[in-house]
């Protein structure tokens, strides 16, 4: 098969030029997303996951800048005009931002908020069509019809989150970016909302980028997983391989710090604190915390992201050709 990926990100850089220096929030990310694939993006707070999502949506505001290329079906989003980009959002790529449920307008009925995006994209619908569309969308996200006439304060957190999902898929985008869609919900509701999202992504054949720091949720929901650290991708692979055989020392620590239903009281955090990405030093930014650091190499040379097996990428000197395994 010789198909180009749905989304291809080349050397994406999002820098913020501030007084204290240059904040390299996203620093040279390469990523491919195929059609119908659910990709997870994990990392600590401040690792640049959300910034990268906003960069894909081209919603970075000054002093931030976007460099690099983001191809969506061969069209470079970075070079689109503002008007074309506006049309692309929601209809081609839609995002459920972090804390989306608090972004609903408190004085607008749910149905008007769902229709808002459609109107903005020039969809003209008759009264019955509107009603049908809303009913259909609410049905997809498993909400009762009566919700359409309600206001946000009448809904629970889980229901509001479902409304945000309905808005995001209202124009049937190709890619859905969900930024911590369940972070404020408790376990039972989290599972229900996540199951709904996974089901509709499969049914509507969308691609998804799921952002979060909960590895458990990733294990349950995605096909491929990308681990981000300090603005760079540390490792990408199929989720099962990543859990079974993590290659990057950071991924290894991340996975061993997870509480599983095994022996009780076995706890291991990741020592140290994430580095600052303001004027970062050269070399691998994880080297200061890395248990397997190669002295004289890691602090000096930044490891590139290399494909060491088909579909498996890692950025670490341990896997350099001819390097120590």
């Amino acid at each position: 098969m010789n198909t180009s990926p749905l989304l291809e990100i080349n050397e994406l850089k999002t820098y913020f030029y501030v007084k204290a220096g240059t904040v390299k929030a996203v620093d040279g990310v390469n990523l491919k997303l195929d059609s119908g694939v659910k990709m997870g993006l994990v990392g600590e707070s401040g690792s640049g996951k959300t910034t990268m999502a906003l960069a894909i949506m081209r919603m970075i505001k000054p002093p931030g800048t976007i460099e690099g290329k983001i191809f969506l079906e061969g069209v470079d989003l970075v070079s689109l005009t503002e008007e074309d980009m506006r049309k692309t959002r929601l209809s081609q790529i839609a995002m459920i931002p972090q804390g989306a449920m608090n972004s609903l307008n408190p004085v607008m009925r749910i149905k008007d908020q769902i229709l808002d995006g459609m109107f903005d994209h020039g969809l003209e619908l008759g009264r019955n069509e509107k009603k049908e569309r809303i009913e259909k969308l609410l049905q997809i996200v498993e909400l009762p019809d009566k919700v359409s006439k309600m206001y946000p304060h009448e809904l629970s957190g889980g229901m509001k989150q479902r409304v945000c999902v309905a808005i995001a898929i209202s124009l049937l985008p190709k890619i859905l970016i969900a930024d911590e869609p369940t972070s404020a919900l408790d376990v039972v509701i989290q599972r229900q909302v996540m199951e709904t999202i996974t089901r509709l992504v499969n049914e509507l054949n969308l691609s998804m980028i799921l952002i979060g720091h909960d590895m458990g949720l990733m294990a349950q929901s995605v096909d491929r997983l990308a681990v981000m650290y300090a603005g760079k991708i540390a490792e990408i692979g199929v989720v099962k391989d990543m859990f079974a055989d993590p290659l990057h020392p950071y991924t290894q620590l991340l996975i061993s710090s997870l509480p599983a239903l095994g022996k009780r009281g076995v706890f291991q955090g990741i020592p140290g604190i994430p580095p600052s990405v303001i004027n970062p030093p050269p070399g691998c930014l994880f080297s200061a915390r890395c248990p397997k650091v190669i002295a004289g190499v890691c602090e000096v040379i930044n490891p590139p992201l290399v494909e060491i097996k088909p579909g498996r990428f890692v950025a670490c000197h341990l896997y350099d050709v001819g390097g120590a395994q």
Partner: protein, 335 residues
Amino acid sequence: MTPLMELRNVTKVFGGNVNSPNATVALDNMSFTIEVDFPHIITIAGESGSGKSTMMMLLLNLYEPTMGSVLYNGRDVRTLKKDEVLDFRRNVQAVFQDPFAVYNPFYKVDNLISIPIKNFKLAKNKRAAYELMNSALTRVGLRPEETLGRFPHQLSGGQRQRIAVARALILQPKLLIADEPVSMVDASLRATILKQIRELNQELKIPVLYITHDLTTAYHVSDYIIVLYHGSVMEAGDVEVVIRQPKHPYTQLLVNSIPWPDPNHLWGEAAESIKGARSTGHQGCKFAPRCPQAFAPCLESKPPLFRNEGVHASACFLYQGGEVVNQDDIRSLFR
């Protein structure tokens, strides 16, 4: 021996009194004791709205019970005299959920630790106070030179939460109540903070109440667990037994909803995704409207706690026939 703290038939109702139609019963006739000579970590678990945070607020005397009483050393907390209040405030310490909200952004973080030292006269002079702050911070794994003198916005959520733990410990309390201490902290730091709480519990021999909806961390950090639903105890017992072999359908739902970090251990297909029906207009089990195994008796009366085996009891008619554990005597399960 008088327990350190006791909830005696406490009911807390919001939005009216017990008989108001729109009132929310946050905690329903709860009795529980905490003893100094039982220095274990006890988890209070449940979904949002289960009453777990209400229980904490009652124990801290930040809410007044609608019915029943909260006792400290056998005395109602509402009738404590001024010096007794100070003693209570010192001995019962809390760590709150949001490490961003507990700090005043205009003050350096030192303030959070130095105020209790001043108020309770823990140090003779400035130097001794500084030493005390240093040792408390070191104990929770922070480097004092990297934390003291900074403003809250210069520190990460994990660092701030650890300072909050250090603050609680500087007072050498007799009870620590932690309300979702790691829910707003990065996953990689959760393990570190929980491990520290565990170590402190073992070193200082103080009981800890760990309030959470996250059963995975509860499983690893605590010894015993109480599962609440709409203000009533559904299941209680040894944490290993309750989480590995949950008996109550509600606990089973919670355990089945845990996103295990293992792509080979997925949420079951047979998602008994019980929708959140929340009618409580009947006299029976509160969970019955959502329960996949509900049968006639569930709608008629409230199930008492039936003892399963030794250290484990479930408030569910499926286990009828077991010895009935008195609601006032949940503590008897924890042995």
